[in-house]
């Protein structure tokens, strides 16, 4: 059957460039390259390689899946911006997949490592947020869940592509980064002078 949808998933939310190409349920190609920098230069050539390894081209794609974070702010934007440009150029849907969904496994608490001994995690019944690693670990233990946050899990792009292939037909919103942390910015320290009436 050739009518199964062809979906390309990718992610640059941490120190990696990850991509996977799926035809229906079947993984045609998958790659995870670790790198601390250079994702912006590497991502598009990597996606082209993934396509050509499977003898596919951009026009063959039915949908895109992209990791929206949480994770490295710049990294998230690299993949999301590329996905939005590709979706516009190919006129196909791009589905944003968050890092918790992409790491979902039975019996474990999905969590994404963050700087300074913190993690992004969604504790049972709570909205995802940034918290000390210890807090997430304790909560996982209390709920009888495994806890092993990984920044670059081997199957991340494949998971993103799988989720996208289920959702793309009904996706309406373009992918948007999931930061879970406000931008660092301090209000202006300049204080306006007192104005005297003339």
């Amino acid at each position: 059957m050739t009518s199964e949808p062809l979906v390309l998933g990718f992610d640059t939310s941490a120190a990696h460039c990850a991509a996977a190409l799926l035809r229906g349920d079947e993984v045609l190609t998958t790659r995870l390259e670790e790198m601390t920098r250079g994702q912006a230069e590497r991502l598009m050539p990597l996606l082209q390689e993934v396509l050509s390894e499977a003898d596919a081209s951009w026009e063959d794609l039915d949908a895109l899946g992209v990791g929206i974070g949480p994770g490295n702010f710049t990294g998230i934007r690299i993949a999301v911006s590329a996905a939005r440009g590709l979706a516009l150029g190919l006129d196909i849907p791009a589905v944003g997949v968050n890092g918790f969904e992409a790491r979902k496994a039975d019996g474990s608490l999905p969590a994404v490592p963050a700087p300074r001994d913190q993690v992004y995690a969604a504790l049972p019944g709570e909205a995802p947020r940034l918290m000390p690693r210890q807090e997430a670990e304790d909560a996982a233990r209390g709920a009888g869940l495994a806890f092993a946050p990984e920044a670059s899990p081997p199957g991340i792009a494949e998971a993103i592509a799988r989720i996208a292939s289920v959702r793309f037909a009904t996706a309406t919103e373009p992918p948007a980064p999931l930061y879970l942390r406000a931008a660092d910015a301090a209000p202006s320290s300049d204080v306006a002078p007192t104005l005297l009436d003339d």
Binding site: A40, E41, R42, L43, M44, P45, L47, Q48, W58, F73, T74, R77, I78, A79, V80, S81, A82, A83, R84, G85, L86, A87, L88, G89, L90, P174, A176, P177, Y179, A183, D184, A185, A186, P187, S188, S189, D190, A192, P193, T194, L195, L196, D197, D198
Partner: protein, 365 residues
């Protein structure tokens, strides 16, 4: 055979998200078919300046929408384009990177060639887009982030005659507005106040006029203004409206005098090129200041050079200038790969010594 090119441009290096479509038949005047700019002023207003992370976040979710709008306004589709041009630096790297990635996505998807453009080249070539002026011309680029005199000899041939060694004048206007409780952006607010003020009451420094070069400095001017403000406030317990207007007028006069004198010197250097039709062009948001513009016109008239300033919407950050600069590069055969790098620092003139930024990371702009 004359070749007509239609170029899509993207710009996201500071706090404006922009996309545009520019078309030109070789030998004819270029046409701006659309130019969409989404500003972010309100996102940054509480912070007294552009916050890079806030800017980057906004760009990432606006760029593709901006491109759709630009295509719709031009009544064209991506199939009608000949290339995609994108600002690849210098600027706030998060925003530049979002623009570069979005452009790469469009280029990969459509097979269109990708052309990376230096944001400063976009400004510097705008007089050719708007007025078709010939090389070589003298360009004063004066904005919130930049201030430099460029001798423009070709689409990739720039000599920097001088520039600021610290802040850009636009930054100084913004800072002045903040110090005096005026709204942002500071340029229009300070100019409006200055109109009712006495420029002679407060004498502010004219830095570097004692040096023969074309370099400028605006950092000390901000400090001088703050000291004067504090001195008045200490005496009276605050500022009267007249004090504020006089401070604005004195500040603006110092900027005008400095730019006029350094422009005079830059024109002298430019005239050594023996240009057939000597032309001085100005671009950047500060070029909108009427006092500065009037002084520059006078200096040019004295020197026998024509003065041109693109309309404001093409003077401040926009993507039509990026599409046009990309077109000049494209006509010259330039193509970039999908591994194009976004650069926070990218001087137009790599031969002249750096004015700002040094060491491992090199010159800023």
């Amino acid at each position: 055979m004359t070749k007509t090119l239609t170029i899509l441009g993207l710009e996201s290096s500071c706090d404006d998200t922009a996309a545009a479509v520019v078309r030109q038949t070789e030998g004819a005047r270029p046409e701006v078919l659309s130019s969409i700019v989404f500003g972010q002023t309100e996102l940054h207003s509480a912070f007294g300046g552009v916050v890079p992370e806030i800017a980057a976040r906004a760009h990432a979710e606006k760029l593709d929408i901006c491109v759709r709008d630009a295509l719709a306004e031009a009544d064209l589709t991506l199939k009608d384009m000949d290339a995609v041009a994108v600002t690849a630096g210098p600027g706030l790297i998060g925003g530049v990177m979002s623009g570069v990635m979005c452009a790469k996505g469009i280029a990969a998807a459509t097979g269109l060639p990708l052309v990376g453009v230096n944001h400063l080249a976009g400004h510097a070539l705008t007089p050719r887009l708007t007025d078709g002026i010939a090389y070589p011309y003298l360009m004063l680029l004066v904005s919130g982030g930049h201030c430099q005199y460029l001798l423009v000899r070709g689409p990739e041939d720039f000599t920097r005659l001088g520039g600021t060694i610290d802040d850009a004048p636009g930054e100084a206007f913004d800072k002045t507005a903040r110090l005096l409780g005026l709204p942002q952006p500071g340029g229009p607010a300070v100019q409006a106040e200055a109109e009712g003020g006495d420029p002679k009451r407060f004498r502010f420094p004219r830095p570097l006029l004692d040096r023969p070069d074309c370099n400028l400095s605006f950092s000390g001017l901000k400090t001088a203004l703050m000291r004067m403000r504090d001195q008045i406030a200490a005496e009276k317990g605050g500022l009267t409206r007249q004090d504020r207007a006089d401070l604005c007028a004195g500040f603006q006069a110092a900027v005008v005098d400095t730019l006029a004198e350094k422009t005079r010197r830059a024109i002298r250097l430019y005239m050594d090129e023996n240009p057939a039709q000597p032309t001085v062009a100005v671009a950047g948001g500060v070029a909108a200041n009427t006092a500065i513009r009037a002084a520059l016109e006078t200096v040019c008239a004295e020197a026998g050079a024509a003065f041109t300033a693109p309309p404001l919407r093409l003077c401040t950050d926009n993507a039509a200038m990026i599409a046009y600069a990309g077109m000049e590069r494209f006509r010259a055969g330039a193509r970039d790969g999908l591994d194009l790098t976004a650069r926070p620092r990218w001087p137009l003139d790599t031969a002249s010594p750096a004015l700002i930024g040094s060491g491992r990371k090199g010159a800023k702009a």
